[in-house]
């Protein structure tokens, strides 16, 4: 990160949205010493302060993306902590939770410390590591969850895999509860997924691709919820993709079971039809589903069943994606399209208000994993994103090392203009260069 400026900064006249305090009003904000020093109307700039005119802009807590593959260690050809966090900054994201399915998997305190050290050396934004639930993500033996939490892990997950054995997951939930760490489950019954490569249904039949039935997710999600009920532990279901799973989470919440969930922008934007247009850049796991699922995901976001929006940013090299559909890896990049897709697909059509959208991109993700970020109270860390809600741009490429996205060529609105972490500016587009107060 660039060194923090000791000069105070006044962000003037922006529409300040802080869902944690149900705040949505035009307010000035002063950043000083890396913190939100003051909020108020018509604030006089402190002596020597820089002033940033933010009229017409949204000023919000920096976004928190709890599902990101940074690929370091092991697949630095696709992404590194440096390039991945640069991409996040470009997308208005100030905190990412790094998934542990690296090579080797992050399944020990040493692994967590490696990620934190590399982040300290190279990251542009905050990196919160997660550890795997089982050794090597093999689903056989518990990893040292206590040690990983002590070293700084904010969640445990075998992401990419579900924990296949119910007894083992039960133990993991009970054990993780001791450390107040959230278990994040990629809900998938592998036996039912088998060799599937896209959503099961008429389109897969037409294209001659093996299908992944929606029940491969809902069976696992149902089991995961039942185990949360059994253990009283908190379980977070990540990247849910089907109507059935949304219904299961909704009912579980009604019964008071401690379950939370996130979904990705691609699952509320696209359906399996994208496979025809985008080929392997529309191949991800869980796969893009049908229109009824896309609508159910949006409903789930609206009524609070789905707590968070997360990118599942999964960079892959061009060579690995320019292959036969069945041979290419699952996953797309998403850090830089999370915010504009949310604006264009959810806010503009009226599915979510700005405050509810920011709640799902910043406040709730921080809350779900108890991260000390995601709000803009006086005294909070100055992790801030300034968004131009109307500026339109065509997506032509990414700061990420990888470019595997079905959204290349899309024209979207709501891009981040300024991003700061603890008061340090990590992204600034020309229009909002701060000027010295006269």
């Amino acid at each position: 990160m660039t060194p923090s400026t000791s000069v105070p900064l006044l962000i003037k006249g922006g529409r300040l949205i802080d869902p944690a305090h149900n705040r949505d009003e035009v307010l000035d904000l002063v950043v000083e010493g890396g913190r939100v020093a003051r909020l108020g109307k018509n604030v006089t700039p402190p002596a020597g302060a820089h002033v940033m005119e933010a009229a017409g802009m949204i000023v919000a807590p920096g976004l928190v993306d709890i599902h990101v593959h940074l690929r370091e260690p092991g697949q630095e050809g696709a992404e590194t902590i440096e390039t991945g966090t640069r991409s996040a900054a470009a997308g208005g994201i100030t905190s990412v939770v790094a998934m542990p399915n690296t090579q080797p998997a992050i399944d020990s305190a040493t692994g967590i410390r490696f990620v934190l050290r590399r982040a300290a050396e190279t990251a542009h934004i905050r990196v919160w590591p997660s550890g795997s639930i089982t050794l090597g993500r093999a689903g056989e033996k518990l990893a040292e969850i206590g040690g990983m939490v002590k070293a700084g892990a904010v969640a445990v997950t075998d992401d990419g895999n579900s924990v296949p054995d119910a007894q083992l997951l039960r133990r993991a939930l009970e054990y993780a509860k001791m450390f107040d760490v959230t278990v994040m489950e990629h809900s998938e019954d592998k036996s039912l997924m088998a060799d599937g490569v896209m959503n099961e249904g008429p389109l897969a039949t037409r294209l001659g691709h093996r299908g992944i039935p929606r029940q491969s997710e809902s069976i696992a999600a149902g089991r995961n919820i039942a185990l949360a009920a059994l253990t009283g532990a908190h379980i977070h279901l990540t990247h849910i993709s089907t109507r059935e799973t949304v219904d299961l989470v909704r009912q579980a919440k009604k019964k008071g079971i401690t379950v939370t969930a996130d979904c990705t922008p691609h699952h509320f934007t696209l359906t399996e039809e994208a496979v025809v247009r985008c080929g392997t850049n529309a191949k991800m796991n869980p796969p893009l589903r049908a229109e009824e699922d896309r609508r159910a995901i949006i409903e789930g976001l609206k009524d609070g069943t789905i707590d968070c929006i997360a990118s599942d940013h999964a960079p892959h090299s061009r060579a690995s994606k320019e292959q036969e559909f069945s041979a290419a890896p699952f996953g797309i990049v998403g850090l830089e399209t999370l915010l504009p897709l949310t604006v264009t697909q959810l806010i503009e059509p009226g599915h979510l208000s700005w405050i509810e959208a920011i709640r799902r991109m910043a406040t709730n993700p921080a809350k779900v994993l108890s991260l000390p970020v995601g709000d803009l109270a006086e005294g909070s860390p100055a992790d801030i994103v300034i968004i131009n809600p109307v500026e339109e741009r065509t997506v032509t490429g990414f700061s990420s090392k990888s470019q595997n996205s079905p959204f290349l060529g899309w024209t979207l609105r709501g891009f981040a203009q300024v991003v700061m972490v603890e008061g340090r500016i990590v992204l600034r587009r020309e229009a909002l260069r701060p000027v010295s107060a006269s």
Binding site: G201, T205, H209, E322
Partner: protein, 342 residues
């Protein structure tokens, strides 16, 4: 990945033959019309014409195949094209070369056609979007095998004189079958009623949503065969049993094997087709395979004629036109040219 002209722009000429899904009924009819004079050549002592002299056809077989490759090779040779063969097991693929690099290498050798067989559905489409050569799909995964579909329809047409209104049964492993999909597209476009029949575990999801109301699904062979004009028996991959799609080969034969007895349910002049290679005594009994209704060896002969027609018609710089000329006229013209050469 760009979608090749085949699917995206129906109105334009078609560079590649990726599947029968993207062909119109008229285009299918046109290819079949032109296949006729090709077949007439086979009765002559000299079966070769110079239609594709100077052209090169590369046969890229990433998956083992004897009959389809031989058939394409012979088709190309009878049109005087040069052929060149590629087999995955003896090639740079085993050294880790990507599909696109292999295809571009052949493109750089200035071949005119890439005839391609691949285990992955959609692989020919990927190649077609990256090269200028005409890509002819010789079978991709569980997706399509268009020349097999065309030769099956050609065979039916020869005997039945029409496709419209016929009842055609496709029997066996529909889920994994590219032959089934190409037959379904071609036959339904030409107005046949198709009944697919097999164990329910080998019928893919949403089949009738894809192929429309002319298609019905049955898991009762006797019911499916009732009143059938044609039955196309698919090859059963023995390894499907390991995948627990059905309990034993014995029970499969018991329920879905085509026998003389069962064939009595169909019309007396029902044709029996099989794309080969056959598992005698498994999906088809020897009595049926060698019986009077069997078209199996005719299919092999017709396959060459159909592939000659495909190579001939796609050889133009634009490929197959979207609006095709009268097929009968073209066939006549081809016939006359060939006669002059004899």
């Amino acid at each position: 990945m760009a979608v090749s002209a085949g699917r995206a722009e129906r109105k334009n000429a078609m560079k590649d033959l990726l599947g029968l899904e993207s062909l119109s009924a008229e285009q299918i009819g046109y290819i079949l019309d032109v296949a006729r004079p090709m077949k007439n050549l086979f009765t002559r002592s000299i079966k070769k014409v110079p239609a594709l002299r100077g052209r090169t056809v590369a046969l890229l077989f990433f998956e083992p195949s004897t009959r389809t490759r031989s058939s394409f090779e012979l088709a190309a040779k009878r049109l005087s094209a040069d052929t060149l063969s590629f087999t995955a097991s003896t090639s740079s693929v085993t050294k880790g070369e990507s599909l696109l690099d292999t295809a571009k290498t052949y493109e750089a050798m200035k071949v005119d056609f890439l005839v391609m067989r691949h285990a992955a559905s959609g692989a020919p489409e990927l190649v077609a979007s990256a090269v200028k050569a005409h890509v002819i799909n010789a079978g991709d995964g569980s997706h399509e095998h268009p020349t097999q579909g065309l030769l099956d329809i050609f065979t039916i047409l020869e005997k039945k004189r029409k496709i419209e209104g016929l009842k055609v049964v496709i029997l066996g492993d529909i889920l994994h079958s590219r032959v089934a999909r190409s037959n379904l597209w071609g036959l339904t476009k030409l107005g046949a009623h198709v009944t697919v029949c097999g164990p329910s575990t080998l019928i893919p999801a949403g089949l009738t949503d894809v192929f429309g109301p002319r298609v019905t699904v049955s898991t009762d062979l006797e019911e499916a065969l009732d009143g059938a004009d044609v039955i196309n028996v698919l090859r059963l991959q023995r390894e499907r049993q390991q995948g627990d799609y059905f309990p034993t080969l014995r029970e499969y034969t018991e329920l879905f094997g085509l026998t003389t007895d069962r064939l009595r349910q169909a019309k007396p002049d029902c044709l029996v087709l099989h794309p080969g290679p056959m598992n005698r005594g498994l999906e088809i009994s020897s009595e049926v395979a060698d019986g009077p209704r069997s078209q199996i060896l005719d299919q092999v002969t017709n396959g060459i004629a159909v592939r000659m027609a495909v190579l001939h018609l796609f050889a133009g710089p634009e490929g197959l036109p979207a609006t095709v000329p009268d097929g009968k006229q073209t066939a006549k013209a081809v016939q006359t040219t060939f006669k002059a050469l004899s």
